[in-house]
Amino acid sequence: MAGVRVLVGTRKGAFILSSDERRKQWSIAGPHFAGWEIYHMKGSPVDPDRIYASQSSPWFGQHLQRSSDGGITWDPVGNEFAYDGAAMTHQWYDGTPRPWEFKRVWHLEPSGLDPDEVYAGVEDAALFKSKDGGLTWKELSGLRNSKTGSSWQPGAGGMCLHTIVLDPKSNGQIFVAISAAGVFRSDDEGETWKPANKGLVSNYIPDPTAEVGHCVHKIAMHKSRPEVLFMQKHWDVMRSDDSGENWHEISGDLPTDFGFAIDVHAHEPETIYVIPIKSDSEHFVDGSLKVFRSKTGGFEWEPLGKGLPQSNCYVNVLRDAMAVDSLDSCGIYFGTSGGQVYASSDSGDSWEAIVRDLPPVLSIEVQTLK
């Protein structure tokens, strides 16, 4: 039956929200992995019943789970993320060199070719790949070993590789984003990498236009136009029309250009969504929750608050906590630090809460089931 499956990672477990294509009645399954942090879950584009989940705990470390039945049952898979080659250092907060140390998996990106092929973005920042359904992992170490690796520094949330964007045309191009290093691009399936941060301006670093050091929060792409990228940076909403070679600001008339999440409409590649918040310390906007939509690829933004709380609301939406479905009328979904998951089945014009009282939401992914 056609419908959607919303994969929700929270501070204390995973939840799976399911509906038919009308998106009015929802069933809620979970918590899976109760008590564990679920940084991210994502399904394979090739086999939607294949889902990967990143399960971690400050007590018991990183674990990976895999489902082959759409999230009903799960099996633990490999959790050895060994950095490749000789020990390297990056910069610590005080500028001293610090060896890379694995902490957790922030993001899982299944490939569009093979359900057993999946990428993992980890903290301390590195990219790993599995070709056997998550049983074993190998680092794509050309990223860390590129000429800037030793100068990367952690952001406030750690030095994490949090975004992986695979070229939908499968010509070997991969983008990743690292806090607080920036965007990197590979044109050879992850063997070699170069920074892709030209045009970013970050006034909180000594050289605001440095090659690396930018706190990129999230990048997004529409699969029909892989050369166009959108970015929510620490401050500034940005756009590139040449595969990350150059970026320019599109914050336009947003009330604030700080935020974490950004995504693109499933059928309109110039329609993008952000959820601005006041600043890096005040993670809300004046007590009201609004998504902002641009139908012009940036600059001109409209607030979308119908159905969302417009008073006494002080929640945040994290970088991986917004996603879209690809039904005819595009659905937009986001989860909050207050445990609400909101959905719009009309491209953002109006919103309803699917569920209101989950643990703090870390990530949202949506599977459109045909």
Binding site: Q55, W59, H63, P76
Partner: protein
Amino acid sequence: MIRVRLPDHLCSLSGAEREVELSVNGKPTQQLVLDALELRFPALKGALRDPQTTRRRPFVRFFACGEDLSHQPMDLPLPLAVANGDEPFLVIAAIAGG
């Protein structure tokens, strides 16, 4: 048989009961007990010891017979009461936070 008692999180991770019985070849030590535990419940690999360094995770503790064994050498023989199954080997999730 060695009796090993696990915290709830590790039971849900591995499918183990709260208390499991393990046989160990030779004189039981923390190292041998943990090796046997991971062999029987592979999902516990990396949960008690860092997979790279094999060192005990900071918030995991090992108690037995009213003593904290966490800082003892891993190859030191366990107390006789643990070795003969009279007392359990306790894996503890340390209380941390506020």
